[in-house]
Symmetry: C2
Subunit: 439 residues, 2 copies
């Protein structure tokens, strides 16, 4: 096995990196480049120099020490410097990051970015720009932190037609759901704990409403199906409606509740969605706990491959960014052209109403005879057949009872219609929650 | 995201593949190349032609239909044909595969191989030959079938110093152990079932004695530590000594029993071993069932990344082989040099006696007072402290009882010494099994 490898003698000039952003990830990347010179030389055959680092505030204290003259507040010091080969963008957000990326690509610079929002919204345009300028655009860190899923889909699994992706790609929601499942805490309390630990932001909307996961799913689906998708193509439901008893019922039925980001081919169309769903307890995805992420890819040849690891944080994201820098540096030496994913087939995005799924419904009903019969009748009218019924938690003082129903596969629009009709039944006090079941 | 990619106009000549071997995997690879021309063109920018296929018996019926004139029984038709760019070797075994690979590399041909035995025994030599001839040597399929672990370690995780690898990389043993755990069948019966399903060979030695896993671990460790290791560097124990009650005790103690292939750095040395071990039930590796494989890599940046999937079979292995063909084809166009893993630090292989581990010991003892005290005394003499004791299954008719002891971390040689002394106690009828516990 590999031993005694030497630096190739015919590639000796260095690679200059311009880093945009020096937050948690930026500091990790800068520290790694500064302290791993010989390792990077061994891997790429070239010295990798951190030439410039763009920050907003030159005087803020950082947890990485940079050499004199590296820090700048002027993006042009990177974008207009012909000696900078690779621009590493870890600023996040669309403005001004997207403009900087376009300018850098137009100048023929290679890009390594961790920016899921820009890649989700403008990835197609940036890819075209990269190709036209013979530049590489690498974005491993945009999905799943240290999990090598972007590269796997582009390289190792390239021979496969991808049938589906099922993933847990938001650590914040997975932490909250794990907390709710293990300790039966309410959503609000679990969120506050996640905020206290730094796992959730003070405005948690992007995470708990599935917006962050939708960005990442847009990127994964675009890689899988080699077509351009937009975040707006993705049907989204957040996790704030979940209550402790949902976790209790799910466990009793043999499931865990996980917020899944799913893409799958259904005939000539693709279905894209982010929502909390019931997952069989014995499935690997049900066992992904805390802030961990996992992506399960089902390919035409490889079958189901699951990759599990840390989805965020300074070190794991640095692993992805530096991996991309190494790849870009190797490609520069080898006159490699830009990435050329093949043209995928035309694919429509199916509306959520056409989804076929199993369902879990939790209802608060009047504790009277005949209620279940009425509900069953409504479901039957919609061609929806019941798989299981649980009735617990009768509350004589309010004359109410809780019923949980799971169904066999049914169409989403039929289910939604049945749910609306249920809500109109006088004996049904509330449809407390509806979740889909992923098998 | 990626849309509307075209074939790069400046690379238009085709790639010729010579396939050596047309067994299960070879037929899968041939069928894929023959029926996915436009997809391969899209991915590599070139047509990929199956020019020659080497078989031993030209007249055997195959489950793939080859064009006229492709089949040959003469290796020289591939090795001496200057038009063949990539040699895909899926024959297995060392002879004559290794000679063919050397001859092909010397002729500057790129290699894609699924041959774990050759890569484990002669990988270092082949890598050097590849580098000297500016050829690529790719071997994703040699470990873990469709699991993209080789590529991940070489590419996506390249920024990491690898601390440890813990893996389940032999589907046959994992099937047998899963069967024993779930149905409490004996080893022999589980083996016969595995043979009936085609998961185990009629001579199962390579699998059940850990030889196959040791080949794969040699390859993974060499990638991780960028040094040359040999299969003989790996300490091995097979699974045939396991009995149903080991699975019962393990479950009671909160563990699963899995045959693990482990490499880890311990100061300046690496420890390499394949043996059945107790794994905490909540660990992802404990949940890898049946013929599935999984590899957990712990890197300095990425933390623990686990990849799970089908470790063998025609389609998954084809996924890996064709992925490598695509990579090789892309590199040919780009004048890429051979792989150049950096020189890893000097590493000794630590003898198994220096391992520190927790242990599980199952003993058959005389059902008399004071036996446990004697055993505890022996362990204490060896500085080994007891973590838990279970005593079950008293058999008055034979005057014997079964005791299971788990220990806190101790040195392997101290433990082995204590076990030998235990065996000499008159009250100890038998040390039935000793397993290590992986936390």
């Amino acid at each position: 096995m590999p031993a005694d490898f030497e630096v190739s003698p015919d590639i000796s000039d260095g690679i200059n990196v311009g880093l945009m952003g020096l937050g948690v990830v930026g500091a990790g990347v800068a520290a790694h480049i500064l302290s791993n010179g010989s390792s990077l030389l061994g891997l790429t055959g070239r010295t990798v120099n951190l030439k410039k680092v763009l920050v907003r505030d030159r005087f803020r204290v950082r947890d990485v020490e940079l050499p004199e003259g590296v820090l700048t507040t002027n993006a042009e010091d990177i974008l207009s410097d012909p000696d900078i080969d690779i621009v590493v963008e870890v600023m996040g957000g669309t403005y001004p990051a997207e403009d900087y990326l376009k300018q850098a690509l137009a100048a023929g610079k290679h890009i390594v970015t961790a920016n899921k929002e820009v890649m989700a919204k403008s990835g197609s345009e940036l890819m075209t720009l990269a190709r036209d300028n013979n530049a590489n655009l690498l974005f491993e860190a945009s999905v799943g932190g240290g999990i090598p899923i972007v590269g796997c889909m582009m390289n190792e699994l390239a021979a496969n037609d991808i049938r589906s992706i099922r993933s847990i790609i938001n650590g914040t929601t997975n932490y909250i759901l794990t907390k709710m499942a293990q300790e039966r805490t309410g959503f609000e309390q679990a969120l506050v704990e996640a905020q206290g630990l730094g796992y959730a932001e003070s405005d948690p909307t992007n995470d708990i409403e599935g917006i962050d996961a939708a960005y990442k799913l847009t990127i994964l689906a675009s890689l899988a199906y080699r077509r351009s998708f937009q975040p707006s193509d993705i049907y989204r439901e957040g996790i704030s409606k979940l209550e402790p008893q949902d976790f209790r019922y799910a466990e009793e039925l043999g499931y865990a509740i996980k917020s899944l980001a799913i893409a799958n081919l259904d005939e000539e169309a693709v279905q894209l969605r982010v929502y909390p769903a019931l997952v069989p307890a014995e499935h690997m995805l049900a066992k992904v706990d805390g802030v961990y992420n996992a992506v399960e890819v089902e390919g035409s040849l490889c079958g189901q491959v699951l990759v599990h690891g840390a989805g965020a944080g300074r070190e794991p994201t640095t692993s992805a960014v530096v991996g991309d820098i190494i790849e870009a540096a190797c490609k520069i030496g080898n006159h490699s052209p830009a990435l050329m994913p093949r043209n995928g087939p035309e694919l429509k995005v199916k509306p959520i109403g056409e989804l076929r799924s199993r369902y879990y419904v939790r209802l608060e009903v009047a504790d009277h005879p005949g209620v279940l019969a009425q509900i069953a009748q409504l479901l039957g009218d919609g061609q929806i057949s019941i798989a299981a019924v649980l009735q617990r938690d009768t509350h004589p003082e309010t004359d109410s009872a809780e019923i949980v129903i799971t169904t066999h596969p049914a169409r989403e629009d039929s289910m939604q219609m049945a749910l609306r009709r249920m809500e109109n039944l006088s004996q049904v006090k509330k449809v407390s929650n509806t979740l889909r079941i992923e098998e």
